[in-house]
């Protein structure tokens, strides 16, 4: 009932919005109107999660769908959790859009699609049969595509939209085929029936297709290239939703299918997922490290975090295959914890990036700088987000990373040698990714918010309006809250995971403030204790320093080794900051080359520097694919100019071929 009304509200909003597209204020109103249904769904999710264990899922059947098939909708704990993940950022995005949307170049092209986009995402979470699921999925893809191409004045957005659309079509097709395979044996698209016949039909191919379908949407390597193009092209609050939320919806699909509908998988799948995740994490963060465009950087960072979640999911699958449900639950809790964290952090960061972009009109971080003095609230919130995503305690990012590492550290107990060698390698990859993430966000925050302004626009920046500030303060506070009270969250997640793995993870074996999920002596973490001790130490430090030392502080021109230089270039640029890593890792990974033309001493000709970076994945895979498709298209083009007889001939042959297949195919 509640769900339905919320969904209908989204739908009506989306349909009504175009009526007022001439007036920018209407765009703000539409965003405002998105808040109640989002809040409603949020509350619903929370209520369902708070319900005592054993509460059955709510099931609704609607006469919607394919002829003869009803539409099945279901709210269980997993859906409820993801309702949280989707609608919390949605509320923030709505709040943000309230102040932000009217200033967009084309608010009329954004306002109608945002509620529809939310509708699509929520629909995916609640769908309980393949048809509804795919319908909602495609709806989500289409509306998000419309958001990507919202800025029609931007040719880049057009290109991003095209890439995205083809990738979404590919993903949707994969899922369609996967469901077809899965349903082939069970004879039904109903999830309830699929659940009742685990391990039925499809097998390897179906799982592979699911992986491709959801992976392409989540940004799994090597299916990620659309993501850093598409996410940043949308308006910032839509980027936040796409990057923070839509990738999570894709992961929801993966979890739903792998852990609920098809729970009988070999450890090899977990292993493959882990390796894919590790590759995704490393690739994502390394590309993020090389970016100059703030929003592209954030999009690549999303790829990294998706990788981290995939590793945890892979671990969970492997543990489950080895019949170690407790550890599987730990890994799955870690994955879900990170899902929640990342949706919050990435929304926060994208909203912050949006505030920066609208204050300066500049997305190139090499042209920003010194914004912390001019935009203190945005800066502080972005700092919180940067710390959180770099997994610094006591923020939430660290908790999920800690859980992932804890589950990883227990994975070597799995007996197959591939697992035993693979896990440490994945561990190295994750550790590297975590360290690179810290570098990446020191670089991003340092160049955008610290130092001196590198352009006039950055020097003239003003703090964002109040609603934008609020939309950033709330997630920043939540990041801290989710970090300080990890036991509460992981307890809740344990109840989400319990029905899937039939085991409830004990999250606090040592008592309330200590997160200790494995064994009392096996390593524990208490953010609250750390924070309290830290505060005590900080107070001591301040008291001691100020009592025994000088308290005076003078402001003076920068010292800079006695040679202050007023040029804005006399500080590290973002490119320079990451150059050492580019030099060490970029040469093998990106074929990065620095071409330096240094004139001889005394020669007054300019020295020249050029950087060549190529994406081997794009060159090697996608560029070839595009060429192939183009060539095929050229061939197919000829079909347009055939005679009627040729067309008839082709239809005939197709018919015959179809009949042959039917004849040869073994009976069901």
């Amino acid at each position: 009932m509640v769900i339905g009304s919320a969904m209908i509200a989204f739908l009506l909003l989306g349909l009504a919005a175009p009526l007022g597209r001439r007036r920018p204020a209407v765009a703000g109103l539409v965003h405002l109107a998105c808040l109640p249904p989002s809040l409603l769904l949020l509350a619903l999710g929370l209520m369902h999660l708070a319900a005592p264990p054993g509460t059955p899922p709510q099931i609704i059947t609607l006469p919607l769908g394919l002829p003869g098939l009803a539409g099945h909708w279901r709210l269980d704990r997993l859906s409820a959790f993801f309702l949280l993940v989707v609608n919390l950022p949605a509320v923030l995005a709505g709040l943000y859009g309230l102040g932000y949307a009217p200033h967009l170049p084309r608010p009329g092209r954004v306002a109608p699609f945002l509620p529809l986009f939310l509708l699509g995402m929520n629909g995916v979470l609640l769908a309980d049969d393949a048809f509804s699921f795919l319908l909602a999925w495609e709806f989500m893809s289409l509306t998000s595509w419309l958001l990507v191409v919202a800025d029609d004045g931007n040719p880049e957005a057009g290109k991003a939209g095209l890439t995205y659309l083809s990738m979404a079509a590919f993903g949707g097709f994969c899922l369609l085929a996967a469901f077809a395979l899965m349903a082939a044996d069970g004879g039904s698209f109903d999830f309830a029936l699929l659940r009742a016949h685990p391990g039925g039909g499809g097998g390897v191919l179906a799982v592979l297709l699911v992986l491709l379908g959801t992976g392409s949407k989540a940004g799994m390597v090597p299916l990620h290239p659309w993501l850093p193009l598409a996410h940043p092209a949308a308006p910032s609050h839509a980027s936040a939703l796409m990057s923070g939320v839509m990738t999570k919806v894709a992961l929801y699909g993966l979890i739903r299918i792998l852990f609920d509908l098809q729970p009988v998988l070999g450890w090899q799948w977990g292993f493959a997922l882990m390796l894919l995740g590790a590759a995704t994490a490393l690739t994502g963060v390394f590309y993020a490290l090389m970016q100059r465009d703030l929003k592209v950087l954030l999009a690549y960072s999303t790829v990294e975090n998706v990788g981290l979640i995939l590793v945890a999911l892979g671990l969970a699958a492997a543990f489950r295959a080895y019949d170690q449900p407790a550890l599987a639950a730990l890994a799955l809790v870690a994955a879900l914890y990170h899902v929640l964290n990342h949706s919050l952090i990435k929304s926060l960061l994208f909203l912050g990036a949006g505030a920066v972009v609208s204050a300066t009109g500049e997305r190139d971080i090499n042209r920003l700088g010194g914004l912390l003095n001019r935009m203190p609230v945005t800066g502080a919130c972005f700092l919180a987000g940067a710390c959180a995503i770099s997994a610094l305690p006591p923020l939430n990012g660290f908790v999920s990373e800690w859980l992932v590492f804890q589950s990883l550290f227990h994975a070597p107990s799995l007996s197959h040698w591939a697992m035993r060698f693979g896990v440490p390698v994945v561990g190295v990859a994750l550790a590297l990714a975590a360290a690179f993430a810290a570098v990446c966000f020191v670089r991003a925050f340092g160049t955008v918010f610290l130092g001196r302004p590198r352009s006039a626009a950055a020097a003239a920046a003003r703090e964002a309006p109040l609603s934008l500030q609020l939309a950033q303060v709330v997630p920043a506070a939540l990041c801290l809250g989710l970090g300080i009270f990890p036991v509460l969250v992981s307890g809740g997640l344990a109840s989400v995971v319990a029905p899937l793995l039939r085991v409830r993870l004990p999250t606090a074996l040592l008592g309330w403030p200590w997160l200790s999920p494995i064994a009392p002596g096996a390593g524990s973490y208490s953010a609250l204790m750390l924070l309290l001790t830290g505060v005590a130490l900080a107070i001591t430090t301040v008291l001691v320093v100020h009592h025994f030392g000088s308290q005076r502080t003078r402001r003076a021109p920068v010292w800079d080794c006695g040679t202050p230089c007023a040029l804005p270039e006399a500080q590290y640029s973002a490119d320079s900051f990451s150059q050492p890593l580019r030099r060490v890792f970029g040469r093998p990974l990106l074929a990065a080359r620095e071409l330096i033309d240094m004139p001889a001493p005394g020669d007054t000709a300019p020295a020249r520097f050029r950087l060549e970076i190529r994406d081997p994945l794009w060159d090697g895979l996608y560029a070839r694919l595009i060429r192939l498709v183009n060539r095929l298209a050229d061939r197919v083009n000829r079909l347009q100019s055939l005679t009627v007889r040729h067309y008839l001939l082709m239809m005939f042959w197709t018919l015959v071929a179809g009949l042959v297949i039917v004849a040869v195919r073994p009976p069901l």
Partner: protein, 222 residues
């Protein structure tokens, strides 16, 4: 012949030191450092032999240890140092593959040898899987060094480190007579002599190449 876990563990630890020196050989970029690391490896090997002598109660292994220490740990490195200095090639180690990738390949080889050793059923002998894995890793690393280092001296060192791996396996095995080890030692001597001649023959080549390779293989431009 029941050995205490301590005896095993120490033996393995010494073996691991030999292995680490094998990695050290791959890591070094200066000829002097390579030779010195090789000497350390040989000394660790001598220690391994001595320890085996103690725990196996096999006095002839003490002799082996002494031979290894004197010959491979001191004489050969000193000769190589002299040779290298004499030829004026004690600068950079020429690499066919960068240091980082070589080290990664090395770890891969160690993993490979562990995988190979895992299913071995060796309950009958006193050699444990671990020591076989260690020895095999050292051998493979020596091979890797011979492949990835262009310079003749480093190739010789790679060959001798490979041979250290064989000795490591040999001293761990019970009942291997002294003769075997002596013959191995002599084979090295022969190899040394051969390679010595070889060096002098290719000296001209080094002289003419030195400048160009210096510029291409400078430390930070890899």
């Amino acid at each position: 012949m029941a050995h205490t876990p301590f005896a095993y563990n120490l033996a393995h630890l010494i073996g691991a030191t030999v292995l680490m020196m094998g990695f050290g050989l791959l890591y070094q970029r200066r000829m002097t450092a390579v030779i010195r690391t090789y000497a350390l490896q040989a000394m660790a090997l001598a220690l391994a032999a001595a320890w085996q002598a103690a725990i196996q109660d096999a006095p002839h292994l003490y002799a082996t240890a002494l031979i290894i220490l004197l010959f491979k740990g001191m004489a050969v490195p000193a000769a190589l140092q002299w040779l290298v200095r004499r030829l004026g090639i004690h600068r950079t180690v020429e690499t066919a593959l960068g240091i980082g990738p070589t080290l990664m390949a090395g770890v891969g080889l160690v993993a490979l040898s562990i995988v190979l050793v895992m299913p071995m059923d060796i309950a009958a002998t006193a050699i444990t899987r671990e020591s076989v894995a260690l020895a095999m890793s050292v051998v493979l690393l020596g091979l890797l060094m011979m492949i990835t280092r262009r310079n003749a001296v480093t190739q010789v060192v790679g060959f001798m480190s490979l041979e250290n791996g064989l000795l490591l396996a040999a001293v761990g095995a019970h009942g291997m007579p002294l003769v075997v080890e002596l013959s191995i030692a002599f084979s090295v001597l022969v190899a040394m002599a051969l390679f010595g001649i070889f060096f002098f023959r290719i000296r001209e080549r080094f002289d003419s190449l030195e400048l160009s390779y210096l510029e291409t293989s400078r430390g930070d431009s890899q």
